[in-house]
């Protein structure tokens, strides 16, 4: 199996290298030009697909969640079929990795995403007991680093390497349990700050380890910081922006993208949320679907350009699975055209028919080159 999977990975690497090099720019070059503010041919297109890739590579979800080579193989299989621009270099259950590494238990079902079993921090004492993860042996962190190294060695010079981690607020929600963390904002706010202080340290150690092993971009997903649904704008400015900002300030410049904050349309003024994200030091602001269709995206882009921050726009899983893909993509590209834009599939569901994913990638490429 070992030699077999290496051979498979090598074949996939060749395919990906070929199609990336046959375009005007490779995804890495496109990303670098974007970063310098130069014009590019089209946006990079990235697919947030994880469990979906398992059956494509004839693997179970559990296998790709436990084995770094299988994960790389599944990501490259999906990428070489769909011709997207960057794989996601981390295990599918990216909300669990840091928590597992510091001692929280994770349950691995055979064919769906692993889940955290129960909160690790029930009392102040539990927090006092927690230490920083040892990168060589904590949970799946050594394997996560291995995934990045493996990819970097094979495709690092051509292809943009992105890895998903979580922001301190989302990590805290997993460790403490979301409801209790939120209730603590009323019952025991000092405790919330202490938990966040700890999470900042873990996030910094983990993200820097991935970057120093060759990752180009760390994507901080923060679903638990979705505006209105999980946190009020006030608490977002008070508890999310400063702590995430502290993490970003301790990473190499422009190496972090903040993603997965849904619901900016729910804020009294979405511009303030975007400004908060910029102030935290993200190199790109992600505006997911349906937010990107509910706010003035052109204005958002103007704000971002002024601050030299890129725009990532999302297309929803629902649209990719059932909707009018071409219409949605052209709506987006019309507004968010020009440099500094990346198009991101918010998520591709496990059961999404492959031809619909191909249609999505193809639409981004063809519509933006018109």
């Amino acid at each position: 199996m070992g030699a077999n999977i290496d051979a498979r990975i090598n074949r996939l690497v060749d395919t990906i290298r070929n199609y990336q090099c046959n375009e005007t720019f490779t995804s890495l070059k496109r990303y670098e030009l974007n970063r310098q503010g130069s014009e590019v041919d089209r946006p990079n297109v990235i697919l947030e697909l994880t469990d979906h890739a398992a059956p494509m590579a004839q693997m179970t979800v559990e296998e790709i969640c436990r084995d770094s080579k299988k994960l790389v193989c599944s990501q490259l299989t999906a990428m070489s079929d769909y011709k997207s621009d960057a794989p996601l270099l981390n295990f599918p259950d990216f909300y669990n990795i840091e928590n597992e590494a510091v001692g929280q238990s994770v349950h691995y079902p055979e064919n769906s995403l692993p889940v955290l079993i129960e909160p690790l921090i029930k009392t102040h004492k539990d927090l006092d007991r927690l230490r920083l993860p040892n990168l060589e042996q904590a949970g799946r962190i050594p394997q996560a680093i291995e995934i990045v190294r493996n990819f970097n060695e094979k495709l690092g010079s051509v292809c943009l390497g992105c890895g998903l981690v979580q922001g301190p607020w989302s990590m805290a929600a997993g460790l403490r349990g979301f409801k209790d963390l939120l209730y603590d904002t009323k019952r025991d706010i000092d405790f919330v700050h202490e938990i966040l202080d700890y999470c900042v340290e873990v996030c910094v150690v983990y993200a820097n380890a991935l970057l120093s092993n060759g990752l180009d971009l760390v994507i901080f997903t923060d679903g638990w910081a979705s505006i209105g649904e999980c946190i009020s704008p006030e608490n977002f400015y008070r508890l999310v922006v400063p702590y995430t900002g502290r993490v970003f300030s301790r990473l190499p410049k422009k190496s972090a993208v903040w993603l997965g904050i849904w619901g900016i349309r729910n804020a009294p003024d979405w511009r303030d949320i975007i400004r908060g994200e910029i102030a935290a030091g993200t190199s790109a602001v992600f505006i997911g679907d349906p937010d990107c269709f509910s706010i003035d995206l052109a204005e958002a882009k103007r704000i971002l350009v002024k601050h030299d921050v890129q725009l990532w726009v999302g297309v929803d899983a629902e649209v990719i699975r059932f909707g009018n893909i071409k219409e949605r993509v052209s709506e987006l590209i019309n507004v968010a055209s020009g440099g500094g834009v990346t198009v991101y599939a918010n998520w591709v569901t496990y059961d999404c028919p492959p031809e619909r994913v191909r249609c999505f990638v193809e639409s981004v490429k063809s519509i933006s080159s018109h």
């Binding site: 209730y183 009323k186 209105g228 699975r321 569901t349 999404c352």
Partner: protein
Amino acid sequence: MKKDEVLLNLQNAVVLANFEDALSWTGYGLKEGIPPFELITEGLSKGMINVGKKYEDGDYYVTDMILSSGAMNEALTILLPFLKKRKSKYLGKVVLGSVTDDIHDIGKNIVATMLIGVGFDVYDLGVNVSKEEFINKAIEVQADIVGASAFMSSTYLYQLDIKKALDEAGLTPKVKYIIGGGAVYRQWAREIGADGFANDALEAVNLCKSFVSAKGV
């Protein structure tokens, strides 16, 4: 202090998500001899209904509803033991859960709290609940209503599996089947033959109320 004032203070504690006040006014109300069921229906629950209205009017976020339901749950920890002793007070029994492979539960939890608040006996099975678990629990507790939540376009199909399993187990039409969650629409509920659908927790409460007649309240 007059009973009405205590109940009003309790309502306000829930509306403002003041955990401490919710606890202390509940304790005070009990000491003053206000029946636990009244503290729930006239105090906590009315507060929660106000919260729901504020949400509908756009004055409150989902996160405000979660915090308010936290204040209410805090008070319920004192009150529920009294109610458990007098089961006849319940409006009906509801089994709730998020479907297989789905770990989203914020919306379902709000529905559960609101249902408890208005007097339902709620068995919340949590997340990633299989059809077998729904059926077994419904049989075990003789549920009046089974409610399934789904939040993703890859998981809502499980709501159909649950419907089929309820039919096969001979539980329908006596047991009412309702569905909801971010990924679900009214049309889907009709397609799978569910008895009801709700867009939000208030609608869910009204739906459940419409299915059961008060039992001994």
